[in-house]
Structure formats: structure tokens, C-alpha cells
Amino acid sequence: MSRMRNGLLGLSALVVVGVVAVAAVALHKPEPQISDALAQRKPDVTRGAYVAVLGDCVACHTSKDGKPFAGGVPFETPVGTVYSSNITPDKDTGIGTYTFPDFVRLMRFGVTPSGGRVYPAMPYTAYAKVSDEDLQDLFAYMQHGVTAENAPSRKDGMTWPLSMRWPLALWNIAFHDDSRFVPDVPKDTAWNRGAYLVQGLTHCGTCHTPRGIALQEKDVNGTSNLFLSGSVLDGSSPINLRGNIGDGLGRWSVGDIAEVLKTGVNIHSAIAGPMAEVVEHSTQYMSDDDVKAVAIYLKTLPPAPDEGRATFAASDATIKTVLAGKETSPGGRMFMDSCAACHRESGKGETLAFPKLAGNPSVLSADPSSLIAIILNGARLPSTAGAPTGLAMPPFGWRYGDADVAQLASFVRASWGNGASAVTADEVSKVRARVEPSRAKAQPLAASTDRVTAGAGSR
């Protein structure tokens, strides 16, 4: 009996110790160290504005038709909807009362001044890599270069227990690497600048690195060949940015990568979907040196493991079959009817106008979500200073059912030398469920919607 009681007591003690330990972790507020040198440094607001562009803060913190950085953008995550916060210098609803250490704590640890936790949808996992100086300039810009807006945060749409934020402290212990970027000294300045940007400010891994069981990025330091090896996210499949010949950037030059980031289009492909917004808000404004540095770094990433990945070896077998009038598969016939006018029977598209499908990493990615989403919903290229048109592909989801789209996508993934797996109607159905509600949202004239006052005459 006493042994039993002792046992229970012991167990209770363990539970208490556990709870206390967890509470200690949960309530622990990291104290960022600000060096004297940094404290003496005069922050540069203009540079800070550029840091904000590199970090693409506006993408997540400015809602459609909303004021810049006032937050309220919804993010559909696998565990519920999260809304971005107001990061204008408003004292009540924004970050107007933040001190620089408060800002650093949030950017590197995901912890607010009150000790609260932010979901890692905010890529503090990448921003931890950002240098002191960049953070300081960014903070100066957010405090002095941005107009304060009173806009209370929206309540997140998560259900208990995921609505509890304290377990994120445990998540941080398990998965968050809060170390700064460490230059690789033997490598040159451009490579190091590229690595710094990719792993840090431009947070490419947030979308392009596969995630583990707890939704953690499998590599945030670029030390393994899983880093940037492609992922699946919100009805799209961010491509593999490593050196694979099929689904990666193996056939792209440094110049090709720089061009696509600058203009949204290059001789191989064009950018659509979520990445189009990144180009529109961020990469097109990057300096030529920075874009090139990013490209130089990406080109040094060796291929990811090949198993399960598509191959590509240019072939004229498909075009020969087509020209002989022998392409009679349902997918092939749909392609000739609805796609070939632009993408051509050769699958080679037209330079800078209509993207190639032959050897296109978005077509070849292991997960076909992006390809399916584009067929269903259409796509619009970003409008950039260098390529303002923002060419658009119309949607075909209203016209083709799941089985049709599966056949069409399978044809595209297996023609002209493309060697990617077939697509199933079930996969199409899943993507359709994710992307078609958004079809109702207008996707017109990205740059001009605010200027059309149909018949109102009031603006």
C-alpha cells in the first residue's frame, strides 16, 4: 500500500516536475544579446526598406486591397487558418511599442514581447539566420518608414488543442535552429551572399524544402540534399531547386535563374501560382548582384536523391506521332485542342511568351499539384518592370472533369522526353477541392484592379 502510495506520489512528483519544466520552457523568454557595437550603429532606413523587400514581408502582411503591412492575410495551413498580424508601427495594434530586442526576439525565436508564441508560418526559422545589421535596418524601416495603421489582429481559425500556442515552445526546442548564418570561408563572396539570402531573408526553404512529421523543414542550413528539394503546399508543388536534370534546375544557367527571378520568365519556363507573387513583390526588386548571388548559390546545390523523381531526355517521338496523325490518346487529343495553340505540338512553347512543357520542372515535379492547379484554374505570370504583360492561361477546370485532367496531365508528364509519373483522377480531385473555391475570387489585371471604378466615378 505504501509502496503504491509512494509510487503514486513519485508519479505525481514527476508530473509536477514535468509540468513545471514545460511551463518553464513555455514561459521562457529568450533575451537577445545586443552587442555594444550594434547598439552604437546608426540604422539605415533605406537599406531597411530593401531588407523588407528581400524578406517579402509585404506578401504575408498586406491583405488584398489592405494598407501596407497591416496584416489580416489568411493562411490555410493543414491544421487551420492563421491570420498574419499588423506589423505597422501602430502602438495599439501593431509593433509600435516594440524595442529592438523585442523585434529580434520575434524574428529569431518567434516569441512576442509578452512571451507569446507565433506559429512557424512566420518564417522565424529562416529569419534566425539574418545578420544583426540587416535586422536593425529592417526594424528602423518598420518603425520609421512604414505608416502606422490601427488594425486589430484577426482571430485564428484553429481548433483546440492546436489553438494552444504554448506547445510551440516545445516545437522550438525540438526543431528550431536559432543560429546565425555562418559564411563558408573558402567559397567566394557571391556564393556566401547567395547562401545567406536563400537560407535567411528570402526564406526559400519555407516553401521549397520538404517538411517532416511536425511540419518542420527537414533542413534549414543547406547541409543535406533535402534542402530545397521540392515540397507540397496548399494545392501547389514548389519545385526542386537543386541540380536534378528532370525536376530541378540542372539544365538552367546562373543567368536563367537570375532572369526568372527578375522578370518572372526565362527561356525554359515561367513563374505562376504562389511564386508569381514572390516575384511581383520581392525578387523583381532585388539588385542584379543579389539575384545573381542567389543563382550562383543554387547552382552549387547537388542533385537530390533520384528515387521517385522524374527524368528528362529531350525526344522528338511525340511530335513525330502527332505529325503522323497517330496521337489518339484522350490526353493527347485534349492537348491538341486546348493547349497546343500556345505550348505547341512540340511542347516547346514560344520563347518568353508561352512556357515550355518539355523539361519544365513544374511539370515534372514528383507531386503534380502545381500542374493540376494550373490546368484547373489557369495561371497568370507576374507583371514585372522587365516583363509587364503578365501573360495568362485561361482555366480549364470548368471544361474538363477530374479523369480528363488526369489524362491530360499524364500526357504532358510523359511526352517530349518528360519522364514523370502518371496523374490519377483522385489527385486531381484533391487539388480541385483546394483550388477551385479560389476561382470565385477574381484574378484579373493584378496591377489595375484598384483603378477600375466601373461606373462609380467616385475614385
Binding site: 495553340a341 511568351a353 507583371s383 509587364p388 485561361p394 489585371l445 489595375s448
Partner: protein, 591 residues
């Protein structure tokens, strides 16, 4: 009471080709520019998305992209002694509406102007004597030269990515191009489109007959093309849906494909759709425009103050706005006084269908609006008119624009008009039918004019524009001359039978049937304020901060499709506003 909007520097009425060009060129100077468009907003996607836009019933039969005649239309009569009646169904000409205007549904044929045509009166007098001009013809020079316009033709072609082959680069005649054209400063931005079967046969036959055929200049891109604004075109795939349709493929030059994406990025530019402009407002002197008054889709009236007003709407609307705004004097055919509405002209087309044997494939299921071969031996004054006794000329071409069941499939003479006999003929001929045409100038006449209808008003309570126009003997003699040429070319092409329509003396203008859509004139440009409405800079003689663009400034009809000249004139006007007017606002030509 109209709500008064915040003033802008420039208000542009109409947002088609000329409105887009002027908006871009003036916005680049930093001025605040606002375009008001009566129609809806539209863009390649979603509005011209495949396959919905290639609907022959919606576009060709029901004119989905054209002015809604139930809102506002014109009245038409052949002669000033007739009673004009409202035009209730579009047939003969095609007023565009909506963002992009007629730049959406045009074919893409992109010519310049023959240097002689801008000074046809002087040329005729020099070569044939003044008596050669029929007494009722109101021939007048345009007050501008080809050389002045050349850089602006060039700019518009490089905006559009026009496909063609130069025939004269700075005076050097180039083999394979148009040997008659005025000198151009450089080659076309893109090479010609691939010739479809009609054009191959046409080129071969005309060459055998001693002509010099060449590729029709087409703003249907033959290659991917990025224009100086950075806008990207993709190559034409010959789908055969150009005229009447928005291009599915970013291939046909339109404001949307060549200017608007870059314009929309400029923060000092804005536009409003479904805003119908009622009039240009002037101050108490009547010499200065203060802005415009418009009605929005809800019927609310607004006044838009502006320092510069640009009329860039469709031809008919520009002319009527001058009249309803009481700027200048309306032309009176009895006294010859007044200029607004004077020299209203059209264009003529003679069209011949060619039926070939079943081994000659023409494949009318494909084509492009501007693709073809043409000859210009009988254009403008490229030949001796003395023995023929008419003034004017035109192009003869073998285009292949695509045919479809609703647009009408030609069948040989004698075919039943319905039933199994008709079906059999369609089946036998569809793949083996071509077409050749002559498109001819229409001169200006004392009795052909525009004014305000005394009876009919539109939905806004504004008097309708009244057209008084019919074919005149000079032009019909020309048509008969061209009819013979078409006949000879058709036979040389190997047609087994031919049928078509060639206008002959005694024929009247049929407003129901499609023919060339290119109406022009009514606010002529010129050097003399007694016979023109705008000076050579397209600036109103009466109101110096009002500029009037469009084919309505033509002094008389020309043989070419007008878009190339209309676009070049807009660039010319914009360039002179930038270089001269903005520095020193006021009349650019002393009155």
C-alpha cells in the same frame, strides 16, 4: 447636378488604340492622365479565353464586342432629301466598344499611307489638271506629309510587332517588299507570316500576270515579340478568329497586348469604365475646354475637370461629341459652310470567291486576319488614271482569314440556298474555296456628310448622329475597273468558278451587308480652318486644349486599312504635345 471630380491634367475620352497611345505617351511625362471608357473592362484572360471567345454566334452574328445599338446608334440615309432612319442592327461597319475598342476586333492588317494620298488634290491637279476633279468631289490635301509621319508609323509598327517585308528602306528598293511604298526608316519588326494556300496561289498568279506581289503587313505576330514597352506577344497560330474576335493567343496587336500592361503600372494613370461622355465643356469664351461631362452606369452625372481634353473614342462618337459640345460649326451641304461633319467618307470592297477543284486545298478552317499577299499597282496614283477617268485606287489581295458555318461558307453560283443540295456543296467546297478582294478608297463629296438627327435621340437624350452617304459615280467606275482585274487574277489562280460582289454604277450603299468597315472623315485635318476641324497636330482650330484623334480626321477615304495611319497620327499628335504644346500651351498653328 453633376458631381465634380478631382481635376486631372489630361482626360481621354475612349480607351481603344488612340486613347491607349495618348495615355501612355502623356503619362510618361508625369502628367496625371485619366481615360474614360463607355464600355466594359476586358482583357485576354478571362474575356478572350479559349474556347469561349471563338463563338461565331456571339461575336460575328450578335456582335458581342461592338457598340450596343439599343443604347445609342446613328441614323442613316443615302441622300440629303431622304428621311434618315435609326440603324438597328450592325452590318456594314463595326464600331467597337469597351477597353481596347476596335483594337480588339480588328483583323490586324497594318498598312501605312501612300505618300500621294495625303496630297491627292495637289497630285491630281499636277498630273491630270484641275478639271479632272468631278465638280461634286471635295478633294483636299491633309496638311501633313508622309515624311513627317514616318517616325510615327515606325513607332506604331514596333509597338504592334508588325510582320512584313520592307520594300523601300530610306529610298533603297528591297526585293520582295512593296515597291510602291514610301521610304521607311528600317525593316518591319517581324518577318512576314507564313503564306496560307490562298496567298500562295495569289502570289504565283499575280507574278505571272506581271504584278509585284508582296506580303500584306500584319499585326498578327509571326514570332514571339517583346515591344519597346516590354509587352510580350506570342506568335499567331492561324486559328482563323481575328476579325470580330478578341485574340486568344496574345498574337494580334491590341491595346491589351501591346500597351496597357505597361500603362497600368504607372501610378499617374487611371481609367474608368462604363462612363459615357456627353460633351466637352468649354469656358465662357468657348475657346478653352475645361473638361468633360459623363454619365456612369448608374445614370449619375459627373463633371471631370482637365487641362487637356483628348477625343479618342470611335469615329462616330468623336464627331458627335464635337457637335453636341458646339465646338466648331456643323457642315451645311447647301452653303458649303461649316466643317464638323464635312468630308464623311467610307471605303469600298469588291469581293470574289474562288472555287477550286478537289485537289486544290485552301483549308479555310485556318487563317489570320492580316495574312495574305497583295499588289498595289492600282493603289492611290500608282497608275495613270487619265484613260480610266476616276480618282482613287486601292489594294488587291489574296487574304485567308478563316471561315466558319455561322460567318457563312461560300458556295458556287447555282447552289440551292438550303437542304441537301446546299449541304453537298458545302461539303465539296469548304476545303477548296478561296477569296480575293479589292479594297478601294472612297472620295469626299459635297453630299456625303454627318450632322445631328433632328428627330431621333439616344438613351442619354442626345440627338443621334445622322449619316448621309451613298456611292458616287467616280468611285463606282473605279470599282468596275477593279472588278475586271479581280476576274483576271481569279482565272489565273486556276479557279473553276467564281462568284462574288463587285459594285457597279447604279449600286447604292447597302447598310445591311458587311463590306469594308472603315468609315472615316467628319473632323478632317488640314491646313485651312475653313475646310478642316483640326490642324496638322490634330488640335482643334477652335479650342486649342482639345485634341481629336481617330479616322475621323482623315480628309478623305484611303485604299488601305486605316489602323496604321490612325495609330501613327496618335503618336504624331502625342509627340508634338510633348515637344511643343506642353511647353507653350495654345494654338500650335496660327489661325
Amino acid at each position: 447636378m453633376a458631381t465634380v471630380n478631382k481635376p486631372v491634367d489630361v482626360v481621354i475620352v475612349g480607351f481603344g488604340w488612340t486613347g491607349a497611345i495618348m495615355a501612355m505617351e502623356l503619362a510618361q511625362t508625369g502628367l496625371s492622365v485619366l481615360a474614360l471608357e463607355r464600355g466594359k473592362d476586358q482583357d485576354t484572360v478571362p474575356d478572350f479565353a479559349y474556347p469561349k471567345v471563338v463563338d461565331e454566334i456571339a461575336q460575328s452574328a450578335r456582335n458581342g464586342l461592338l457598340q450596343n445599338l439599343s443604347q445609342t446608334t446613328v441614323t442613316i440615309r443615302h441622300d440629303k432629301n431622304d428621311r434618315a432612319l435609326p440603324y438597328r442592327q450592325i452590318g456594314s461597319f463595326k464600331p467597337g466598344t469597351g477597353v481596347g475598342g476596335a483594337g480588339i476586333h480588328w483583323s490586324g492588317v497594318h498598312s501605312r499611307v501612300m505618300p500621294d494620298e495625303l496630297r491627292m488634290k495637289s497630285r491630281v491637279i499636277e498630273r491630270y489638271g484641275e478639271k479632272f476633279i468631278p465638280p461634286d468631289m471635295q478633294l483636299q490635301d491633309w496638311g501633313i506629309t508622309y515624311d513627317e509621319l514616318e517616325p510615327h508609323f515606325d513607332r506604331f509598327e514596333y509597338t504592334c510587332g508588325t510582320s512584313g517585308k520592307a520594300g523601300n528602306i530610306m529610298g533603297k528598293i528591297i526585293e520582295g517588299g512593296n515597291p510602291f511604298e514610301g521610304p521607311r526608316s528600317r525593316e518591319y519588326p517581324l518577318p512576314p507570316l507564313i503564306d496560307p494556300p490562298t496567298s500562295v496561289l495569289f502570289a504565283k498568279a499575280t507574278k505571272e500576270l506581271g504584278y509585284k506581289p508582296f506580303a500584306l503587313p500584319a499585326s498578327n505576330a509571326s514570332r514571339p515579340y517583346k515591344n519597346p514597352y516590354g509587352c510580350q506577344l506570342g506568335p499567331c497560330n492561324f486559328c482563323g478568329f481575328c476579325s470580330d474576335y478578341g485574340c486568344i493567343n496574345y498574337s494580334k496587336a491590341s491595346p491589351q497586348t501591346t500597351i496597357l500592361p505597361a500603362l497600368y503600372r504607372m501610378p499617374n494613370f487611371s481609367y474608368r469604365t462604363e462612363c459615357h461622355v456627353l460633351k466637352v465643356n468649354t469656358d465662357s469664351t468657348g475657346k478653352k475646354a475645361t473638361g468633360v461631362t459623363y454619365v456612369d452606369a448608374k445614370g449619375a452625372e459627373f463633371e471631370q475637370p482637365a487641362s487637356i481634353v483628348v477625343l479618342a473614342a470611335f469615329h462616330l462618337h468623336n464627331v458627335r461629341l464635337m457637335m453636341t459640345s458646339k465646338i466648331g460649326q456643323i457642315y451645311n451641304p447647301d452653303t458649303g459652310e461649316g466643317t464638323v461633319g464635312r468630308n464623311f467618307c467610307y471605303q469600298m470592297i469588291d469581293s470574289v470567291n474562288l472555287f477550286f477543284d478537289n485537289k486544290t486545298y485552301i483549308n479555310q478552317f485556318m487563317g489570320a486576319g492580316g495574312v495574305g499577299q497583295e499588289i498595289e499597282e492600282y493603289m492611290a496614283d500608282n497608275f495613270d488614271h487619265g484613260p480610266e477617268n476616276f480618282i482613287g485606287g486601292g489594294v488587291i489581295w489574296g487574304r485567308q482569314t478563316g471561315n466558319g458555318p455561322v460567318r457563312g461558307i461560300p458556295v458556287p453560283k447555282g447552289t440551292p440556298t438550303w437542304g441537301s443540295g446546299w449541304k453537298q456543296a458545302v461539303k465539296e467546297n469548304f476545303l477548296h474555296t478561296g477569296r480575293i478582294e479589292a479594297q478601294l478608297s472612297n472620295m469626299a463629296y459635297k453630299g456625303c456628310f454627318l450632322d445631328l438627327d433632328p428627330t431621333y435621340k439616344d438613351v442619354y437624350g442626345t440627338p443621334m448622329l445622322r449619316m448621309t452617304l451613298n456611292w458616287q459615280d467616280n468611285d463606282l467606275r473605279m470599282s468596275e475597273f477593279f472588278g475586271k482585274k479581280l476576274d483576271a487574277i481569279g482565272k489565273a489562280m486556276g479557279a473553276t468558278s467564281m462568284s462574288g460582289r463587285v459594285l457597279k454604277r447604279g449600286d447604292s450603299w447597302d447598310t445591311r451587308a458587311y463590306q469594308s468597315t472603315h468609315i472615316n472623315g467628319g473632323t478632317a485635318m488640314g491646313a485651312d480652318p475653313k475646310t478642316s476641324v483640326v490642324n496638322k497636330y490634330l488640335q482643334s482650330w477652335d479650342v486649342s486644349n482639345l485634341f481629336v484623334l481617330g479616322a475621323n480626321v482623315f480628309a478623305h477615304g484611303i485604299g488601305y486599312n486605316p489602323t496604321g495611319l490612325v495609330g501613327a497620327l496618335a503618336y504624331w499628335a502625342a509627340a508634338n504635345i510633348r515637344s511643343t504644346y506642353l511647353k507653350n500651351p495654345g494654338p500650335m498653328v496660327p489661325v
